[in-house]
Amino acid sequence: MTVSTFILKNALRNKRRATLSILSVAVSLFLLVTLLVALREITTPAEGAGAELRVAVRNKISIANLLPAKQLPIIERIPGVESVTPFTWFGGKYKGEQGMSFAQFAIDQTKLHGVFGELKLTPDEFKAFEADRNAAIIGKITADKYKLKVGDKIVLESTVYPVTMEFKLAGIYSGTPDDRNMFFRQDYLDESSGEKGMVGMWWLKVKSAEDMPRVLSAINNAFANTSAEVRAETERAFQLGFISMWGNIKLLVMLICSAVIFTLLLVSASTMSMAIRERFRELAILKALGFRRRELFTFILAESFGLAAIGALVGVGGAYLLFTYGDITKMTNGIFPSFEVTPRIVGIGVLVAAVLGIVASIMPSIAVAKMSVTEGLKTLD
């Protein structure tokens, strides 16, 4: 028997206690990882390919205010601008549902590929979208959720415009960071709503990264002191602006994560302390046999690290496997289009487990250090 097998046998002496400790650690770490991933998904804007070259232009008053369509030719003429499309929020309710479960936007169908290059459709689907006035394309996630296929009729009641419009599904797209949205034609919207001449936003692509700063200031200046002043910003800045509207939520989730970590440390540390206290007898015998305090500390630390490590394997590993190979989008009914467990998050989970292993061994180590051999041996009876 070596020292390590001794430690192992010791730890497994009370299998139930060991299992419960491991499970407790695993569950808390799983929860921690889940929270961190969710937080990241909510606060870090997803980057589609081509995002660095995209610009969002909205009414300076707020995104809820519309822009006049006649701004389009002015923007297109700015050097460095490659392709511009309107982007108008429809706010439609589907199938009499109470809330909106997916977003719909009216765009210029001919500019779709130019601005949002990562959006993948078959050539036939692109053609159909450009051919039919009431054509619409929908993201794969939503299509799967409602089991839609090409050719299906979709009826939406707008909460923003006083209309209910009927669309024909021309294609199902994928490849964007958020495959949940529906796109249809701005000209069809203009016609049906009777509100010609206004769009929600402009989205455009610049020719190169060097063009970006010049284009941004050109657009902002072009409409300064008009009745529809604009704010042009990069896609990333735009998304971050959205996120900052959530306000204290990030703080809140941080606080909750702290509470979870604290509870985890507390509970697991106390569990392991209890286990050690049961073994005072053995530790006293070891001390009597001549093992030094340092070696006893090593035993305790090794056991607590071991339990924490296995807990981390189960908890963090389990979360990683579940979120990487499981279809989270389907499970959350589309709330999270992606749920990625980044290496950084795995690292945090492992770090917390390591800290736990150390913290859990502190109290028992102190107790063992202070324990006199005779006192420990007394518990023999």
Binding site: I61, R231, G247, I256
Partner: protein
């Protein structure tokens, strides 16, 4: 009627659980083992149980605080409006900012006989324009959407719960704005006398108001026609009309709803706001989800603590058996002890939640987030209701009972002689 096997299984499980709880309650009430024994046993082992108690307390606190946030959000909606007022918006619109009421529709409606009149004979009705504007937050918190409400001169009278606390109301025809005091605390350039720019024009802040813990606490008000000019709007968003009695109210609503040309809908103002609770839903979900997930860890912790207790008191249990105490009494006793342990955690957790609320109220701390209904900032506070405290306690006790069930069974099944010999 189709027999859903899942439903039957679920029903059976619920039945078993309820049955066990009833049996447990009965056994404890008739139990010869005094309650003080369990209490003293929990307290004397405080060093090893305190971690579990604290863990359960945190679970309860998280649950209560998140639900208290949701309750706070719902309350600011529920608390809004005067029961005599009728709110008129476009049919089908869910947010006031996307609703349109035409000028000529306003002209028509304002002289309807069901609308109450003031002593000068003027109809008490306001035509509002609700616009979402984007303003920078204080302390570099980025920018957020804010609801700017243009109101007619009658607007203040129609909303008696809104009171001026500082400065003065705006003068119609001027580019002046009155800001909710709670909003002023969160956004820059909103002190009285300061100006901020929106829609290409500078607006001067002339006063602060208190919305009376209602949705109006999240708004800024100005003159409706000035607003239409600044934001380039021909028409209004909504109408708010006072009626003299419920009869007039009913007739007015009926009149408007049935007019096909106008395509408007009318509600009691209080009903209109009471429906705007969608933002609270994900917060409630988060609260329940987190608390449930954390409580799994807490259950393991309680289980561990109780196993340790059973292990330490094996001889005690054997002695009780020798003295004649039955196994099921020992089972109930230890299960109860787990519940007591968790109950102490629950009390601690509820106290923490109440303390958090007290601190927020005492220091006038409010939270703001994006409302799904208005698409702009909504301000709210924790609201820990007695119902939530009860839920928190039930949560804790359930965790305690589940966690200590297996250890209690083990205690009951300990063989007498071996227990007597144990260390």
């Amino acid at each position: 009627m189709p027999f859903n096997p899942l439903l039957i299984l679920f029903g059976a499980i619920v039945l078993v659980i309820v049955g066990y709880l009833l049996w447990l309650a009965y056994t404890i009430i008739t139990s010869p083992i005094p309650l003080t024994y369990n209490f003293k046993s929990v307290i004397i082992r405080w060093r090893s149980t305190s971690a579990t108690i604290l863990g359960i307390a945190l679970v309860v606190t998280v649950y209560i605080l998140l639900h208290a946030m949701a309750a706070g959000l719902e309350r600011s909606s529920a608390n809004t409006g005067d029961p005599r007022n009728i709110m008129i918006v476009r049919k089908g619109s869910t947010a006031e900012s996307s609703s349109i009421v035409m000028r000529d529709q306003f002209k028509l409606i304002q002289y309807l006989p069901q609308i109450a009149r003031d002593e000068k004979g003027q109809p008490i009705i306001s035509a509002d324009l609700a616009v979402i504007i984007n303003l920078p937050r204080r302390d570099n918190g980025g920018e957020a959407n804010v609801t700017m409400r243009g109101v007619s001169p009658m607007g203040m009278e129609l909303r008696p719960q809104v009171k001026l606390v500082s400065g003065r109301w705006f003068v119609p025809g001027k580019r002046e704005v009155v800001v909710s005091q709670k909003m002023a605390a969160r956004f820059t350039s909103t002190d009285i006398g300061q100006q901020f720019k929106t829609g290409g024009h500078e607006l001067t802040v002339v006063g602060w108001f208190d919305g009376g813990e209602s949705a109006f606490d999240s708004e800024m008000w100005m003159d409706a026609d000035e607003a239409r000019s600044i934001f380039d709007r021909e028409n209004y968003s909504s109408l708010l009309a006072r009626t003299a009695n419920t009869n007039d109210a009913a007739v007015l609503m009926q009149r408007i709803e049935t007019d096909k040309r106008m395509a408007l809908r009318a509600n009691f103002e209080t009903d209109y706001y009471a429906e705007q609770t969608t933002t609270a839903i994900p917060i409630k979900f988060l609260g329940t989800f987190l608390a449930t997930a954390m409580s799994i860890g807490a259950i393991f912790a309680a289980m561990n603590t109780m196993y340790a207790a059973v292990g330490a008191r094996t001889r005690e249990i054997g002695t009780l058996r020798v003295l004649g105490f039955r196994r099921r009494v020992i089972l109930a006793s230890f299960n109860l002890e787990g519940a007591i342990l968790a109950g102490i955690g629950g009390v601690l957790g509820c106290s923490l939640a109440l303390l958090a609320q007290y601190v927020c109220v005492a220091f006038d701390v409010h939270f703001g987030t994006l409302s799904f209904n208005t698409f702009s900032e909504v301000i709210f506070q924790f609201r820990v209701t007695p119902g939530l405290v009860l839920q928190g306690m039930i949560f804790a006790v359930v965790v305690g009972i589940i966690g200590s069930l297996l250890p209690a069974i083990r205690a009951a099944r300990l063989p007498v002689i071996a227990s007597l010999k144990s260390v």
